[in-house]
Amino acid sequence: MESLLQQLERFSEVLAVSRTAAVSAWGPAAVRRAVQWARYLRRAHGRLRAALEGRRRAGPRLGAWGGRDVVLSARLLGNRALGAAAHRCLLRLLFPGPAAPPAPAAAPAAALQARLARLARRRGAVRLLLRGGPAEDAALRTQAELLLRRLRDGPAGGLLDGLWARAPRAAFLRAAAAALLLDPAGPAPGGLLRWLLGRADALAALCRDLPAARLAALAARHPALRRAYLRQLARWGCRLRYDLPSGRWEAAAPAQDAAHVSWAELRGRFLSLARAPPPLKDAALAALEAWSARDGAFRVRGLSVWTDLLLALGPGAAASAGVAWPGPARSPEHAHLPK
């Protein structure tokens, strides 16, 4: 088992190199060894996986090794740097042709050929289906599933920190949000959620970059996120000051505040929260209520951003929240505004 894991590690280096120009140094023999190695590892992986079925700690990234023979083949095939002779050898290995007289040694080769053909067929299928229109939902869902699959391999924190540092942040946040909304939800999102709540900058970016409707869905699904989201909204709201001449709420210090969220944006956020089903809707309106009361609950525009937001949501909003207007602070969690 130990030696196998070592072999997997060494093979990962080979796999990494297969994409680069370094393969120009590979001759036919090297290609042959690489492909055979990949096939062997595939079989070994299958057996190892079966043996380790019950155990969680199956070593670093064991899950990733399932299809590496296909990956290696595809990379080498697409790599222009691979020499002509090496490439010809690769073709012979990968595509031996129609079923030869059945020899036990030939079976893995035939299996790899079949897998590569299936990959090509699936790619054709995707192209055909895309003719009917873009498939953003499906793409996002796939990214979310891959993220969750990766999280199952090992401890979430380290991986996510790494992603936050290296990966394109917008794509990462979108995938994370989609993962948290996946239906049916599995146990995996737990680690992701904890990490998100623990990282203020990630959380802030999530709240700012995602569309209002998506955040509302997230807040509805995860109570902890709901609280964090509302706190974030409160922070943003506090940074707005009323400009009497123009009659608008504007940034208090626009020059310094790069992360400024406008009044319109804030209103849009609360509108989508108010459209959500009751638990979320009530919590949001109650929060507004509490903050407004903290500011004195004067029914005059321009004195409290929260009052104005409540007014903007419409008279029905406050009433349907089951709160008398004006009323005292309801829930203790919303009674304290951040400074």
Binding site: R61, A64, G67, V70, V71, S73, A74, R75, L77, G78, R80, A84, H87, R88, L91, R92, F95, G97, P98, Q113, A114, L116, A117, L119, A120, R121, R122, R123, G124, A125, V126, R127, L128, L129, L130, R131, G132, G133, P134, A135, E136, D137, A138, A139, R141, T142, Q143, E145, L146, L147, R150, G162, L163, R166, A167, P168, A170, A171, F172, A175
Partner: protein, 610 residues
């Protein structure tokens, strides 16, 4: 050889032209045309590979200067790449094009170009955005991981969109437009055997829209049906039923496919027939009256064409049995009245026939049979009852439930009282519905006489073959009986052998006769000679005028069929009778072993199962 190459080059030209026309595959006409030609084009690719693999690269270019164009156009056609094994064969062809030792820059360029095409098919994958690509990479995954997941999710999303379509009612903005649904059915045609696409196929089949006309392509139904019949796709029964309800040619093809399996030159045991039938899903689908009527119609046609072949009769009987089983499984609630399944039959007759003998206590079987016989006789002999069809229609209905005729024969032999007229009539009718009443009466008289003989012998515990011969000799000389009568009498005699206590002894005496006395002459095996004796005995008993009768293959088949049918019936009715069973099984095995034609020795008999 020369002719082949001439043919091949004309095919080559044909496909070259086609590919150019399909090049953009943008209009629905070109797409439809492409889908129609996919299987033939794949054959052509296979042929081309066979030609190319014998040649080296330079010769290929010499002989087929435009081959690069042809292969490139194929690569660029997503319908072709998505179909069955075409992408694999195309890759093989491209591999043939690679030059082992490029002599000049032309050949190197060709190599390079070919590599590019191969890479195009296999490795280049375009993500939606660079951002997404980098994200996937940072996760440690590759396009090869992403693509299958993407396909799965696209299929799921489309399938659920289709399923929820009817929920959106007349909210036309959210509904999938008919054009898109039609488009989806078209692109599924090449993909139908790819397992990933199955949820979408299922959703399309079960889609019920608000349109007045069928929105899916007929070629889609054809492709799905083909794949289903060849077992290249697995679909839930409800989806298959939808397919057949929406596209009649598919149902007809499925039924013909079943017929080919059932009515082959080899003999199929009833158990095997039952397996084929259930496997085809047709009995279950026939719970829908429209499907039942069409399948029944096809059975009727085959029956008439084969002039009432016993294999077809057996198939109809087993089909009806499986069909009734399936109906009962649907919570015993008949959503449709019986009349929708049997519109030309008297409802009360159908009700009685539908009863399974298992549901009726054995003591009442005689009564039920008499009732059936009376009802049938009334319809057949009464001219004014034409609304229920003539004798043939009655008979066709009756043979669906042919188990009753078998039980009638058994009852006639086993009952102690005088042979019931009603049962005799029923038996005679079931063998030939077209007889006039006079002819039938004659047959009934013959049968009655034979039965009297048999009943005399039934009681005696010890019988010998000689006794039977003596009885046969007792009957006065008569004109040679019609074949039908012989057939019926054989049946009665066989029942006798299986049930009479003495009958067992005779049968074994006959079978072991040659074995104990050793094989005389060594020409015929003991088994063969014992069967010969048995058949000779039967022939003697029934037609003593003609003592030169040799057991024909036909008669052997008939007896085998009878034994198989009897065992099958006993299994379904949970009939105990261990001695009779044992005898029947052993007789069947002996007859198989000695039969001249190759037999389908399937799992016809249950060996050790209780």
């Amino acid at each position: 050889m020369a002719q082949d190459s001439v043919d091949f080059s004309s095919h080559y030209q044909f496909w070259m032209q086609k590919l150019s026309v399909w090049e953009h595959a943008s209009t629905s006409e070109t797409q439809q045309d492409t889908c129609l030609h996919l299987p033939r084009f794949q054959e052509f690719l296979r042929q081309m590979y066979e030609v190319l693999k014998e040649l080296n690269s330079s010769t290929i270019i010499e002989r087929f200067p435009t081959i690069g164009q042809l292969l490139a156009k194929t690569c660029w056609n997503p319908f072709i790449l998505a179909f069955d094994e075409s992408q694999k064969i195309l890759i093989w062809c491209l591999c043939c094009l690679i030059n082992k030792e490029p002599q000049n820059s032309e050949e190197s360029k060709l190599n390079s170009w070919t590599r590019g095409l191969l890479s195009q098919i296999l490795s280049a994958f375009r993500f939606d955005t660079k951002e997404v690509e980098l994200f996937i990479q940072s996760l440690g995954y590759t396009p090869e991981d992403y693509c299958p997941g993407l396909l799965k999710n696209m299929v799921l999303s489309l399938a659920s969109e289709l399923r929820e379509n009817h929920l959106n009612g007349f909210n036309t903005q959210r509904r999938m437009v008919p054009e898109k649904i039609r488009f989806l059915s078209r692109i599924c045609i090449p993909l139908v055997t790819l397992p990933d696409i199955e949820p979408l196929v299922e959703a399309l089949l079960t889609y019920h829209g608000h349109e007045t006309q069928e929105v899916l392509w007929p070629e889609f139904f054809d492709a799905v049906n083909e794949a289903f019949l060849l077992k290249k796709i697995s679909l839930p029964t409800s989806a298959v039923v939808c397919l057949w309800l929406r596209h009649l040619p598919s149902l007809e093809k499925a039924t013909l496919h079943l017929f080919e399996k059932l009515i082959s030159s080899e003999r199929n045991f009833l158990r095997r027939i039952e397996y084929f039938l259930k496997d085809s899903l047709l009995p279950e689908a026939a719970c829908h009256p429209a499907i039942f009527r069409i399948v029944d119609e096809m059975f009727r046609y085959v029956l008439l064409e084969t002039d009432g072949a016993p294999e077809v009769l057996a198939a109809i009987q087993v089909f009806t049995q499986c069909f009734v089983e399936a109906l009962e499984k649907k919570n015993k609630q008949l959503k449709f009245t019986l009349k929708t399944y049997f519109p030309y039959a008297s409802p009360s007759l159908v009700m009685v026939l539908l009863q399974h003998p298992k549901e009726i206590p054995q003591e009442l079987w005689l009564q039920t049979l008499k009732h059936i016989s009376e009802m049938l006789r009334e319809i057949v002999e009464d001219q004014t009852h034409r609304s229920y069809g003539g004798p043939f229609e009655c008979w066709f209905l009756f043979i669906h439930f042919g188990v009753w005729a078998d039980i009638a024969a058994e009852q006639l032999v086993m009952s102690e009282t005088e042979s019931s007229e009603a049962l005799l009539w029923l038996l005679a009718f079931s063998y030939n519905p077209r007889d006039g009443s006079l002819q039938r009466a004659k047959i009934m008289v013959e049968l009655k006489a034979a039965l009297i003989h048999l009943k005399k012998l039934f009681r005696s515990p010890t019988l010998s073959a000689k006794d039977l011969q003596a009885v046969a000799a007792e009957s006065p000389d008569r004109d040679p009986r019609p074949a039908l009568c012989q057939q019926l009498s054989r049946r009665l005699l066989l029942n006798f052998l299986l049930w009479a206590p003495g009958g067992h002894a005779i049968a074994w005496e006959v079978i072991t006769l040659e074995e104990t006395s050793g094989s005389g002459g060594g020409e015929i095996s003991p088994a063969q000679s014992s069967c010969f004796s048995l058949l000779l005995l039967l022939a003697l008993f029934l037609d003593h005028n003609n003592s030169q009768v040799a057991p024909t293959d036909e008669i052997t088949h008939e007896i085998i069929g009878f034994l198989d049918q009897t065992l099958y019936r006993w299994d379904h009715l949970c009939e105990e009778a261990p001695r009779s069973r044992k005898l029947a099984r052993e007789l069947l095995a002996e007859l198989h072993a000695s039969s001249t034609s190759p037999l389908n020795v399937g799992r016809g008999c249950r060996d050790q199962d209780p």
